[in-house]
Amino acid sequence: MHLHRTRPVSVGKRLAALVGVQAVTAALLLGVAFAGYTRLVSDLGFMRRYVLAPIEGISEAMENAAQLKLAAEEAPTSQPDPALMQHWKRDVGLFLERYRTEWAVAENSSEDALRFHADLERSNQGELVADERAAMHDVENSLERIDVRLSASGSDGHTAASIESDARDLRTSLRKLLRVNVGFIAVENAAIERRSRQTSWWMSGVGLLGLAGSLALGLHVRRAIAPRIQRLVLQVQRFKELGVHERVLEEGRDEIAILANALDAGFAAIAARDREREHFLAIVAHELKTPMTSILGFTELALARPESAHVRARALDLVRSHAGRLGRLIDDLLLAASTRSGALPFRPQPVDPAALTQKVAAEVVMTMPKRHFDVDVSRGRHLLADEHLLTQAVWTLLTYAAAVAETRRAINVRLEPDGAHLRLEVVFDAPAVPAEEMERAFAPFASVQYEGGSGIRNAVGLFLCREIARVHGGSLLAMNLTHAQRMLVLDLPA
């Protein structure tokens, strides 16, 4: 017997822990990925709104500044249109106003801008904010100077030259603003790359930790399950190949232990049934061989001494008396085997139960001369039954009763109608037994030993009798009537 101690934590809990770790890992990975994605979207949005959009505005402003400069340069040869120049200057002014209010990083206090300021400091590019302020200031100064010159009356060559110089300064300031924004792009791009790497590290870290946790717990679960399953498989194989039942007691209360103990109980039941069957077969072999010894011996003796009428008569009598019982015993075995395989033949026909009962009682008495039956049958009712099966059932019933009953006391057999049924009651003197013990007589390989007319004999149990009653739609009951009297009742629909 092997005793295998199990860990206190059940397999189900271990599996739940494993699934839990995997779920947490997946949730963390999702969280990190979502956070990284959100940050990336935020960074890209910030870059598009505060860096790329201004660059487009700066380009237009630089174009207007270029137009202004070009018009001023051509002033000596062609008179510039003051309204047009005012228009270009105004557009640049509008750009500056918009830049200052919407795009200027230096003036922005939003959460994204503050984070961008931190990125600038982290990459040692904090001076870009000051550069932006300076560039805006320079643009503003250039615009103010151009405004003053355009407001001055006349557009002589001196004024045009001044405007051309201021427009060049304006373009230079705008280019400076452009460089600042390009610098912002570089910083933001670097920040995005850094944050992407951080996200990747986080995801890798969480993934590795989750993987390690899952592997560790998986091995833990495997160690808890695999050896025990292997033991069970080995036990099943040994049982299958050798019919050997070795008990494996699982002390735990987890699912494997429950399975092992259920399997163990099943094997124990099969092994017990096998032992019962072997015991039963040994008994049957003994019951067949014992009369066969006499039959064989006497027939050989009769053949060897043909002149002895006494020996011949004795041999014939012996063959006759044993043949009936041996036939019944063999029939019982065959029918019981058919019953166990679910193929009990059932061919109903009208049967006279009274005549059948009397005939069987006489047959039983012939093989058990020390027993006496008081048979009281009610005639006139016929049954629709399988005569062969019913004869076998009544023979089994009376033989069992005769085997169990005390000798020298009559066994009362009464057949009487009971409504739409017929009841065959067999009452005999025998000590009362508990219900469980009585029920053992109905097990497939049950037998009962008794003192027969020619020695110790064994009668088969009531398994077949109950099955025959069942296929007829009836029942067979065994009960204690008193502390010293028992009754068997075969109830059949008439």
Binding site: A282, A285, H286, K289, T290, P291, M292, T293, S294, I295, L296, G297, F298, E300, L301, A304, V311, R314, L318, E451, G453, S454, G455, I456
Partner: protein
């Protein structure tokens, strides 16, 4: 009364009859016992002339091991032949300390041989 006898201890009356009929043509008496207790008593009473004991395995009253032990106090174990319809007769014989056995059902010749052995006509060893 003959000087040689066979003791048959068997609860089967038919078998006892058979042994008696086989032996009646020889100069061997058959002493019959239906139980082991009867057999021990009969052996004590006929100890000088019992040449062979035929012993059944399953009998009422006494288990075969105890029965054999009692018989072996009176005669040598080689004089006792276990005669049984049980499975594995050699195993059963060894189990109760006997070396000779006869499996039921047996041919009449086997029984006649044992009777001749008891009569001293022949003593074949098994």
């Amino acid at each position: 009364m003959s000087d040689d006898a066979i003791l048959i201890i068997d609860d089967d009356a038919d078998l006892r009859d058979l042994v008696r009929l086989v032996a009646e043509l020889t100069d061997v008496d058959v002493v019959e016992a239906a139980t082991c207790v009867e057999g021990i008593t009969a052996l004590r009473a006929n100890r000088d002339r019992i040449r062979l004991v035929l012993l059944d395995y399953f009998m009422p009253g006494m288990d075969p091991t105890s029965c054999t032990r009692e018989l072996c106090r009176l005669v040598d174990s080689t004089m006792i032949v276990l005669c049984t319809a049980a499975t594995d007769p050699p195993g059963r014989a060894a189990e109760i300390g006997l070396s000779r056995w006869l499996a039921k059902p047996f041919a009449l010749e086997a029984l006649e041989s044992l009777v001749r052995e008891a009569a001293g006509v022949s003593r074949p060893g098994r």
